[in-house]
């Protein structure tokens, strides 16, 4: 289609979709007593029933934990999918183009930047671990903390170089960590199954509210997720950086 045709088709369609959205306004929002049922059910029971204070994490890792299984595997499969899309066999790199616009790493970062970044790494790791482990108490959890932890690895590349990144972060270890994180979640769910309870039932002692160990399986699932998210994002860094460097012939 020419640009004009495409734009005409799109604008007509978009106007139609806008009208469709407009049509539901009359009905929404529904009566509070109806649409608040799920929220009320969770908010009113989470403290007493699960000894945790963060209702969102309780939904993620307990009440609707099975969604999180799927979610974690979306991440898992996308990381492996990106590795698969970016992988290349050495004999096939010849026909590929080298990109002149690629950021050059020939000029080393200034000492001030390097020092500051190195100083930042330790607090970042600590903060990430804090967020992962406090998911059931305060906002946070494995997903959020995992991303923070992965940025600590990214700092290594920014402050130093990919060579240093690769020296410090062992790729096989990260791959195994990803597998352990993904599989660990499922195994935690299967504990209950072996016990004769449904998958993902929270069978561990619920601990004392406001403590790190509260919530039964929740903190463990959060840890597994944190491991998987950290490892997943570090693997993504590996895949993208390695692709760039292979094509530039710096292997």
């Amino acid at each position: 289609m020419s640009r004009i045709w495409r734009a005409t088709v799109f604008v007509t369609g978009a106007a139609g979709i806008a009208v469709l959205f407009g049509l539901v306004c009359g009905t929404l929002p529904g009566p509070l007593a109806v649409r608040n049922r799920y929220a009320e059910a969770i908010n009113s029971r989470v403290y007493a029933q699960r000894n945790v204070t963060d209702a969102v994490s309780a939904v993620n890792f307990d009440y609707r934990g099975f969604d999180t299984v799927g979610e974690e595997f979306i991440l898992f499969v996308s990381v492996l999918g990106s590795i698969s899309l970016l992988r290349m066999t050495s004999e096939k790199t010849d026909g590929l183009l080298r990109d002149a616009a690629e950021p050059s790493r020939d000029v080393p970062a200034s000492d001030a930047i390097r020092l500051w970044i190195l100083i930042m790494i330790a607090p970042k790791v600590l903060f990430g671990i804090y967020i992962v482990t406090h998911g059931q108490l305060t906002p946070g959890g494995g997903f959020q903390g995992g991303v923070i932890l992965a940025t600590a690895a990214l700092m290594l590349y920014l402050g130093e170089s990919f060579a240093v990144f690769r020296k410090v972060v062992s790729r096989p270890a990260v791959e195994i960590a990803e597998a352990v994180g993904a599989g660990g979640f499922l195994l935690l769910g299967m504990i209950a199954w072996f016990w004769g309870k449904p998958f993902l039932t929270n069978v561990l002692p619920l601990g004392k509210t406001h403590e790190l160990t509260s919530g039964g399986t929740m903190p463990l699932i959060s840890l597994a997720t944190g491991l998987e998210v950290t490892a997943g994002f570090v693997l993504l860094l590996f895949a993208f950086l390695e692709e760039t460097l292979t094509v530039r012939g710096e292997e």
Binding site: F21, F76, E175, P198
Partner: protein, 606 residues
């Protein structure tokens, strides 16, 4: 046992991600085969256990309490249709793994891992009883599907196919998610049954129901590749590795129709009962357009995988028509057709893979007469053409006839004509390919295929190309055999009919999910073919052979571009080829207008 069809492949995938790169290829293959076989067994057991009552499995043990009945957890809602589809999915995955035994390299077990996660996602979608959970499995299918589609990442156009796949499906998924949010904003629930009950209780405005219904379905309609959301499918199939095509065409696309039917019947059928006529009209239009256009375009292809992809689009249209009748018999026909088509199409894709393995191409003209040595494979491809044409003894035949009868009872007898067009054109396209490639009939360049794209496809196999490995032709034969025998016992057909009566009775799911009570009303025995279809079958067979022959002969002097019929044909094909531009921007524009038009149909006819 209920979570195992999802959990087992995921655990195996995680283990392979950890240790797979140290394992020899054969161990990976065996692990994948055993896993998928295990999922087949578990799903069959689940289907069998749920014949008399719906199995409801509450994850995390969060079944509704006796006094509030409000579901706060996620449940699997297992009936023989869903579990049977999960079993069918894993059968095809098993066949795909068998085929890839002697197939391309698997870098770090990535291929096996992605396929297993893909399997788990499809099983999850089949069994799930929760709107958002369905969305999650849908997204997991998309992510795994995109990665598998672009698996041959060295080829430039494989990236284009993967890109179109990813963008279209993601956009559709976001509109679905918006629909889920709209429904949640009223009902405060995500459980299919609870949402359905709440919508029915509050006598909502029909505009709201129409819009929410269409939005929630949009993602699944994109996945089902109905017109005009079908463009990505042909691009994705042309580039995906053969075993992945087996899954894409055999079952992934069809799951879109399944999800649409499930959501309509459990969530919306009671609330929107007054506008059932609008829903029927909408899906009759969608199904007819998809079936006819897919078939016409299928016939204009020279790349065999792409040809099969368009045939899939056409047959999805047929399945949509079965659903559109909004009657258990129609959906029973769709189910039979889905199984028969999936098996036949999987076999044909494996045939394409064998041809690619032996001759290094799947292009009809490049291959002319070059596959004479592959006569047995050619014979199987011809059988596949007969299966696609819905002729006995294939299950597609029973399915198609059941749809026709249901349409007849619903006073929509014209559907039969659409089905016959779809069958003749798709069957003839495959027949033409077989005659040219395996026998050498026809000229090198021909009018009906004028302007068809020539897409280069690299060999996917390494090693010996001089013979057909046993792991390739045996699954092809087995799939074709399965498509023949599966529907012959009349107990299978009547069983499916009875199960579909339950599928379309929301009250049964409400009792099972919310009240943990199994009620099983007595159904009337479903009708079995009283009409005689001998004449129709003969007509389709003759039409298919004539059409294929005409196409093969069209290169000779009797047929010229001045011929009015030929000019019309070329005109139609030119329009189609312009639309199938391969550009993701165009496809998204079609998506918007498609949603708008379908929304207008629903809202105006409600």
């Amino acid at each position: 046992m209920a979570p195992l069809p999802v959990v087992i492949p995921l655990i195996v995938a995680a283990v392979l991600a950890g240790v797979g790169s140290h394992l020899p290829r054969r161990v990976l293959d065996l692990t994948a085969l055993i896993t998928s076989a295990g999922v087949v067994a578990i799903s069959v057991l689940l289907a069998n256990a749920s014949v008399h009552h719906v199995i409801v499995y509450w994850f995390g043990n969060w079944q509704p309490t006796a006094h509030s009945h409000f579901p706060i957890g996620i449940c699997f809602m297992i009936d023989p249709i869903g579990a049977g589809l999960a079993a069918f999915t894993s059968v095809l995955v098993f066949a795909a793994f068998t085929f890839s035994w002697s197939y391309f390299e698997s870098a770090k077990a990535l291929y096996h891992i992605l396929m297993l996660v893909f399997l788990a996602a499809m099983c999850g979608l089949c069994l799930s009883g929760d709107l958002f959970n369905m969305f999650v499995w849908f997204e997991l299918m998309t992510a795994a599907g995109v990665a598998l589609c672009g698996y041959k990442s060295e080829e430039g156009h494989s990236m284009q196919g993967a890109l179109n796949f990813a963008v279209l499906n993601t956009v559709g998924a976001f509109l679905s998610l918006s629909g889920v949010a709209l429904v949640y904003a009223f009902t405060g629930s995500l459980n299919l049954v609870e949402v359905g009950v709440t919508l029915a209780q509050h006598r909502l405005s029909s505009e709201f129901l129409c819009v929410a219904f269409l939005f929630i379905l949009s993602g699944f309609l994109v996945k089902a590749a109905v017109f005009p959301f079908h463009f990505w499918l042909a691009d994705a199939h042309a580039v995906a590795p053969t075993p992945v095509c087996v899954i894409f065409s055999g079952v992934m696309v069809e799951l879109g129709v399944y999800a649409a039917a499930r959501i309509y019947w459990v969530v919306f059928s009671q609330a929107s009962a007054p506008s059932a006529a609008a829903v029927r009209t909408l899906f009759l239009i969608v199904g007819s357009c998809t079936a006819v256009l897919g078939a016409l375009f299928c016939f204009g292809q020279r790349h065999f995988k792409r040809l099969l992809a368009f045939s899939t689009i056409s047959h999805v249209g047929v399945m949509t028509l079965g659903f559109a009748v909004l009657d258990p018999a129609g959906l029973a026909g769709t189910t039979l057709y889905l199984i028969g088509h999936g098996l036949v199409k999987a076999a044909l894709f494996i045939g394409a893979g064998i041809v690619l393995h032996r001759c290094g191409s799947v292009d009809e003209f490049d291959l002319r007469g070059r596959c004479r040595a592959l006569a047995p494979i050619g014979a199987m491809v011809v059988l596949g053409a007969i299966g696609l044409a819905g002729l006995p003894p294939f299950a597609t035949s029973f399915g198609e006839k059941t749809i026709e009868m249901a349409a007849h009872h619903a006073h929509q007898g014209w559907i039969a004509a659409v089905l016959i067009i779809a069958e003749i054109f798709t069957g003839a396209a495959v027949l033409r390919f077989a005659a040219r490639v395996f026998v050498g009939w026809g000229k090198g360049r021909e009018l009906p295929l004028h302007g068809a794209p020539h897409i280069h496809t690299d060999r996917e196999t390494t090693g010996q190309h001089s013979r057909v490995p046993v792991f390739m032709w045996v699954p092809m034969l087995a799939l074709l055999g399965g498509a023949c025998v599966i529907s012959i016992p009349s107990t299978v057909r009547s069983g499916i009919g009875r199960q579909l009566q339950r599928f379309e009775t929301p009250a049964i799911y409400q009792d099972s999910v919310l009240l943990a009570r199994s009620t099983e009303p007595q159904y009337p025995e479903p009708e079995t073919a009283p009409l005689d279809f001998g004449l129709e079958n003969a007509g389709v067979l003759v039409g298919m052979i004539l059409l294929a022959g005409l196409a093969l002969a069209a290169g000779s002097d009797e047929f010229r571009a001045e011929d009015p019929a030929a000019r019309t044909w070329l005109g139609i094909q030119t329009i189609f080829r312009r639309l199938q531009s391969g550009r993701v921007g165009d496809y998204v524009a079609w998506f918007t207008i498609g949603i708008a038009v379908y929304g207008a149909i629903l809202v105006l006819l409600r």
